[in-house]
């Protein structure tokens, strides 16, 4: 391997890890909802899209930086999620229907409604938030003049990555150290037992759906400085979240983080060494591989490790 090849490989890994961190944040929201409610939320990408539009509106009309918009978009999405759970999903949960997973189908409908409402308000134009620091980056040769290779680290991508880590740590703290977090985990582990122990399961579900939405809304804000937005971008990210959820092991937060990173690095490597048009194929290859060879996802590996000790 010569210097050029090393440079390509390292640069690819950097991109992959940065992308993976953001993927992880998208995946965590879905996996959290999956764990507590046992349903796949197929409106996940659309909720992210709503978060991006919140950031867009704040940037365009109030000149608020997309990173600060996280603090507006996340609460907004939290309430949106709570409302969806309370007035749409809970009533459907109670009804007996011929379809076994009618709540899942409901989330598809919610996603369509969100995408079309946004289309009505903003039209289907591509929009973007042209921030000043979009192309700012740090370069290895600026710090180490005689470096044999040149690597760059994008400012926006790094900040988004750090934000994602920070949000993940905050979430971990919330789930493991607070009463409410423990109640959510109890509900995820055993619905009936939690109910018997006096956990308000209905409320926990609302909070979980809100939390999941807030997380993906935040992910939307973190994406926007380096991406663009249009109403129908949700589907693409729902798929990514779905792959991560399966890869990480349904309902496992740590699994989702690892799953996100694996997917990000894998996609970047596919793009570099096989071809960029193949990146979506790689995504599904890994999805099928996870289903066949690792049905429990990364979480099952972690569990096995722990039992072995």
């Amino acid at each position: 391997m010569n210097a050029v090849q090393v440079e390509v490989l390292l640069q690819t890994l950097i991109s992959g890890i940065l992308l993976g961190g953001l993927y992880a944040l998208i995946g965590i929201g879905m996996t959290l909802i999956m764990g507590v409610m046992k349903i796949i939320n197929l409106a996940h990408g659309e909720l992210m899209m709503v978060g991006m539009y919140v950031a867009y509106v704040l940037f365009t009309f109030f000149h608020i930086d997309p990173y600060l918009a996280v603090f507006f978009a996340a609460p907004f999405l939290f309430f949106l999620g709570v409302l969806i759970q309370k007035f749409l999903i809970t009533p459907v949960l109670k009804v007996d229907s011929i379809l076994p997973e009618n709540q899942v189908i409901l989330t598809v409908g919610i996603g369509m409604v969100l995408a079309n409402v946004v289309t009505m308000i903003f039209k289907s134009d591509y929009l973007s938030t042209p921030v000043d620091y979009a192309t700012k980056a740090w370069y290895l040769t600026d710090y180490w003049r005689d470096a044999p290779i040149e690597l760059s680290l994008s400012f926006a991508w790094s900040v988004s990555f750090l934000f994602a880590i920070f949000i993940t740590i905050a979430l971990w703290f919330f789930l493991s150290r607070t009463d409410m977090g423990k109640s959510i985990r109890a509900t995820a582990q055993d619905n009936d037992a939690a109910l018997l122990m006096g956990v308000n399961v209905g409320r926990m579900r609302m909070i979980t759906f809100g939390l999941g939405s807030a997380l993906v809304g935040a992910a939307g804000c973190l994406f926007i400085p380096m991406y663009y937005l249009y109403p129908s971008l949700g589907g693409q990210f729902t798929l990514i979240a779905f792959v991560i959820t399966i890869l990480g092991g349904l309902g496992s937060t740590v699994g989702a983080i690892i799953g996100g990173l694996i997917l990000g690095v894998f996609e970047s490597l596919t793009a570099t060494y096989i071809g960029m048009g193949w990146a979506p194929v790689g995504r599904f290859a890994i999805f099928v591989a996870a289903l066949v060879f690792l049905p429990g996802g990364v979480a099952s590996l972690l569990r096995r490790q722990r039992l072995g000790k």
Binding site: V8, S124, T135, Y139, Q236
Partner: protein, 396 residues
């Protein structure tokens, strides 16, 4: 009995009045366009331009005394929908001619329907080569095919840049593939070797993996065929990675519209792109159209607007010459078109394996001080080109 005869008389009288009042005074034309979906930006611009043209034509008395009434059908940029729109217009509305649509895939779908139903179809912006290479009798194309999009750019390469190596990145759509293949074929003509040719899926977030491959190959020219958002993402990430090519070149579409500069900002500086038209070009009516568009919609139109605007004049000219307004007569009239429009001279020729294709000079734009300037051919230039361009490290 008496009442019946009154009704009869009344309806007879009404029918006498109504025919000249409602039927004969207008020519209804429905135009399929992507008004929602990811190509809506272009659909909107073309819609505005058609409307400006219709207003002008109607203000001058219409076509043979008939006013053109435009309506638009939203195809969402999906070929299957544009196909059914075309079927509806021909079979149900009995429209004798179809014009419009934006993307190559949609234009291709309509072309097939039009040929089958023996109704003339004027392609306005779809550029993939094979649309006018299928021996269709009823399909005409106003815009140059994508093989000719880059003629201006290639002469700029030959005379100024003289690249030895070229890397090609393109979107995996009809337009992108066709543009990339043509550049690959023609690279030999200016002595360049294609060191990398890579496609990407539209909507990609991160181009850095593929761009770091490009960087490792150190090409003289990076040629990209993309729509607008991918175009600016590509340039932004090229800047981020400090890939120093001698020139960054775009194949029209996304690189040639003002949004490219708005989004890519300083990363757009010095990027050249081939284009078919610019507001400063010296064709009669071009400047007037551009100014009119700007006062009405706040921004200059790109070549897509000029194509749509001129398409309606081509239609007007053909309708005036057609004996009857039947599909066959209009087709014959279109085939004899030879007029000057704001978009340039229009004449449908059979040449180089194309049928009923309009051939014309294409231009090269460069982003200079945050504005698109025409730099090539030099007789149309509005500014002197900047070459060689500074390295990323030395900018600012």
């Amino acid at each position: 009995m008496k009442r019946l005869s009154i009704i009869f008389l009344l309806s007879f009288a009404l029918s006498l009045f109504s025919t000249p009042l409602f039927a004969a005074d207008t020519f209804d034309l429905s135009i399929p366009l992507p008004l929602t979906g990811s190509n809506a930006k272009f659909g909107e611009m073309e819609k505005n331009s058609y409307e400006i043209a219709a207003e002008e034509i109607n203000a001058k008395g219409g076509v043979k005394g008939k006013k053109i009434i435009l309506t638009f059908e939203d195809s969402q940029g999906k070929p299957d929908i544009s196909r059914s729109v075309a079927e509806k217009l021909i079979d149900v509305k009995k429209q004798p001619i179809i014009i419009g649509e934006y993307s190559s895939s949609c234009s291709k779908a309509i072309a097939a329907v039009a040929e089958e139903r023996k109704t003339p179809y004027l392609v306005v912006t779809g550029a993939a080569d094979d649309i006018t290479r299928q021996n269709y009798k009823y399909v005409f194309r106003l815009n140059p095919s994508s093989a000719y999009y880059s003629t201006g750019l290639i002469s700029f390469f030959k005379q100024v840049v003289k690249p030895k190596t070229i890397a090609i990145l393109y979107e995996s759509s009809d337009f992108g593939t066709s543009g990339a293949d043509d550049m690959e074929k023609q690279a030999g003509s200016f002595g360049a070797k294609v060191v990398l040719k890579e496609k990407y899926e539209k909507g990609a977030v991160d181009f850095k993996p593929i761009l770091s491959q490009v960087k490792a190959k150190r090409p003289d020219v990076i040629y990209m065929v993309s729509y607008v958002m991918d175009a600016s993402l590509l340039m932004k990430q090229i800047k981020e990675l400090r890939i120093d090519a001698k020139l960054y070149a775009g194949g029209a579409a996304g690189f040639a519209i003002p949004e490219f500069i708005d989004n890519a900002k300083d990363a757009a500086e010095y990027v050249v792109t081939s284009t078919l038209w610019s507001p400063q070009v010296k064709y009669t009516g071009a400047k007037e159209f551009a100014e009119k568009y700007k006062t009405k919609y706040g921004d200059y139109p790109s070549y897509h607007g000029a194509e749509a605007y001129s398409a309606l004049y081509v239609l007007k000219d053909a309708l005036e010459r057609a004996k009857n307004w039947t599909p066959n007569d209009i087709r014959d009239a279109l085939a004899k078109t030879d007029i000057m429009t704001a978009f340039g001279p229009v004449k449908f020729e059979d040449k180089d394996g194309f049928q009923q294709q309009n051939f014309m000079d294409t231009l090269v734009l460069q982003v200079i001080n945050g504005k698109h300037e025409t730099i090539w051919p030099e007789k149309y230039a509005s500014a002197k080109y900047v070459y060689p361009i500074p390295r990323w490290r030395d900018r600012r």
